[in-house]
């Protein structure tokens, strides 16, 4: 369970070694572009680029299985809804009794699903190749306050711990006859007794933790020495800028009539 929060996969690929900001900008601009470009073909192109990057990083299988697990259930829903109810629907493809499916809606659903696939793959690509601790460290080196760095690092540590505790409480209550099935109001009423002990103890601990942190000098406005410096380079910086400029450029192109 511990460390269960991070999806980071050890590796030494180009993407693994890249500065966290480079990967962050890559992810954000890939997603932005997927939602700006005019046609499904372009979105598919972006998806292919992302998958190639993932393959180069040795992550193709994880990337595909992860994305399929997220995208397929969603896409079933999207195809069902859009194929049936999209306002542009004209051309009947097939009918299941009274429910008629149309070409326009299904095509639109395909477009939407491709975009979501881009979003999911880009996000996974970032999470698989970037240590969470590196993100906060990189942010702090670029001026994020140590307090906010603490918030990030601490959240990453506390979440798995709290989830462990939640599982334990749940098991304990289940042996005492907790109802996880049954009518809504009964399940809702079971919820608070599960939450209260968990939440109160972790909230009350903050008081002593805050004191203990002050006793160690937390909050001093002293220039902090970096623990390690991330390899950054001019090519990486240029790449970042180019990628950051791509989405605005695409918007301009769309406004100028890119179909």
């Amino acid at each position: 369970m511990r460390g269960g929060l991070s999806l980071y996969v050890e590796g030494n690929s180009l993407l693994h070694r890249a500065h966290p900001f480079t990967k962050g900008v890559l992810m954000l601009s890939a997603v932005a572009l997927a939602f700006i470009v005019p046609s499904a073909l372009w979105v598919a192109g972006i998806l292919v680029v992302l998958l190639i990057l993932g393959t180069v990083a040795g992550l193709s299988r994880r990337l595909v299985t992860g994305a399929v697990a997220v995208v397929v259930p969603l896409s079933l829903l999207i195809f069902a809804v859009q194929g049936f109810a999209n306002p542009a629907n004209r051309t009947v493809v097939f009918a299941l009794g009274p429910i008629v499916y149309y070409k326009e809606g299904l095509a639109f659903a395909g477009f939407v699903v491709l975009r979501i696939a881009c979003l999911v793959v880009a996000t996974f690509l970032f999470s698989f190749t970037t240590r969470p601790a590196d993100i906060s460290e990189a942010l702090m080196q670029s001026g994020l306050s140590p307090s906010m760095g603490y918030v990030l690092q601490s959240a990453l540590q506390i979440i798995p711990q709290t989830l462990d505790m939640a599982v334990r409480i749940q098991d304990a209550q289940r042996s005492r006859g907790l109802e996880t099935e049954g009518p809504l109001h009964r399940r809702a009423r079971a919820y608070l007794p599960l939450m209260l002990p968990l939440v109160l103890s972790s909230l009350l601990a903050t008081q002593e933790r805050a004191m203990a942190l002050e006793v160690r000098g937390f909050g001093l406005s002293v220039k902090r020495q970096s623990r390690y410096v991330f390899a950054d380079s001019t090519p990486q910086r240029v790449t970042r800028w180019l990628m950051a400029l791509a989405p605005p450029a695409a918007v301009v192109a769309r406004v100028a009539g890119w179909q």
Partner: protein, 206 residues
Amino acid sequence: MGVLNAFKFRMNTLAIVLIPVCIAIDWAGHALAQALHLFFLDSIGTVLGGLLAGPWVGGLAGLLTNILSSGSTDPIAWSYCGVAFAIGVVAGIGGYYGWHKTWPGRIILYVLIVLAASIISTPINIGLYGGGSGVAYGDAMYAALVKSGWPTWLAAYLDEASADIPDKFITVVVATAIYFGLPNRYRALFSVWRRSPGEPEPAPAR
């Protein structure tokens, strides 16, 4: 000054330490909700953080809850981090005015949180899913409404709101219950951010 005073950035160590705990509560709340098949319930910590320590703590807790879940279980979550931020900010404003202490105030708090969540989510749903919300029963309603001629934006809003109305009800009830389950002395440690501008800054916390 009014409500802007609530937004003055004055975080003591306790408030900073509270943020990760709120994030963890969001996660645990969601995990337990999944076990009981109860909606999402992933913003109880966010609301609690807002009530206790103001809009910045609430907002940041919400924002980071979503970003961190994108990094693990739910890669799409970060698209909605603005929604979670807004929920925390609304709870912070409620905490500033003490809405959670009276029944009319609690209703205002609940209604505003539902409005913030549903209004901000709707355009994201439209952009992302073309209208649905990714939740089966809501999307079935969306399909039925659009089919009978309703405008897509309205159907998308109702789809989203149909999930937020029960979800945020339990969220607000549980968050206020936890708030009042905390010892007075503990709650008082956070009151620094509620002071009016004229009051002298006291010792960092109490």
